[in-house]
Symmetry: C2
Amino acid sequence: MVSKSQTKLITSLQQKKYRDQTGFFVAEGPKVIAELLNEGLLLHSFFSTAASQITAENHFQLNVAELKKISFLKTANTSLAVFKKPKPKPITDSGLIVVLDAVRDPGNLGTIIRLCDWFGVKQLICSEDTTDCFNPKVVQATMGSLARVQVHYLSLIEYFNQTKMPVYGGFMDGGNVYSEKLPTDGIIVMGNEANGISDAIIEKITHKITIPRFGETKKTESLNVATATAILLSEFRRFTEM
Amino acid sequence: MVSKSQTKLITSLQQKKYRDQTGFFVAEGPKVIAELLNEGLLLHSFFSTAASQITAENHFQLNVAELKKISFLKTANTSLAVFKKPKPKPITDSGLIVVLDAVRDPGNLGTIIRLCDWFGVKQLICSEDTTDCFNPKVVQATMGSLARVQVHYLSLIEYFNQTKMPVYGGFMDGGNVYSEKLPTDGIIVMGNEANGISDAIIEKITHKITIPRFGETKKTESLNVATATAILLSEFRRFTEM
């Protein structure tokens, strides 16, 4: 049985406004939930159609129809959890850092968070108009990676004004990323899906780089922001000692 | 004005069965349509809300409501075209070739076709259970790349039985892709989103490779098939003379 107030809370968490107000977000499916618990995230309440080994003060067993009612997914899973949003640690000027300037597509953000986790990038810094990482679609796409990568939302201009790290950004006329000497500590800026990096942020780029285009025609318009991030992170990391 | 038979044809082209039967597919939006025309694809019919410079025998001007009715998109664009599916050229044993084993998500296939185009891969070979590249979602995602990359659908087993090229596949226990010597001519196999490369195809892999995972915890489960393709193509190409 789900109470009216629980249903109201869960439904509201589809919207960023209420995730910000309450400090909670929703994750669905035993795999995602287990990953987030493993990473130490705090559980607020847990709803499952199966008798589960996860113990929580607010643990409710539901039937399939009840779970379907509160699920955000087209095809509801067997469980749904409300978690407390983790507070990111203070930003440090070290390691490889990815900065997103107005990335809007939840699928792209989810893929980039997984890439950061894969390549050992612990700090992901997002402009305030980048999609919220606790958006349900992002949560489902990132799995446990969301708990391992620190995601910060802030004014990029203020951030760039105080950092001393080199700032890399992808452009059509930059240095060839395959021949540039890339540092182990630095910032990689990725831009909006349609408009790229915004003018105010372009001024903060200290190193313009390019992923070369191959083939005879070279007509491909651009790479998707997530695949470009994959290629750049791979290049920054390939010379790192494992 | 759209006739009943035109509406019936266009609507049917959402399904692979009818695309196969008729040999036609649908593209929407002036940008995608112009790219496909530029690449020499044959236009069957063209519907637009604007007076257009594209000339075609079957060219119809519609109002917004009429176009909305035949559009596959949530938000209809200003034009829709029915094209003849191009016939791929015969497969040759040369260059870099990407093979997809049961890639199901249209978004992933679209991204991979764009990556092939970017990295000069002219031949993309798909198992018969890979998503159809003329699926409307794939067409919209790939833009003109679809006309520049030859996409073949066939039995992978038969294909591997006749090719003499080295066959690379991504595995958890393969050689480090950053230190392996990679050829300019070869095949890269990418597997299904959930199950990876199927057992029958694993037997055909001559070189197992791995994209190393970085960071302290190394818990990221896997890379998405499109981002893994991006990283592998970048590695195969980075030493190629541009």
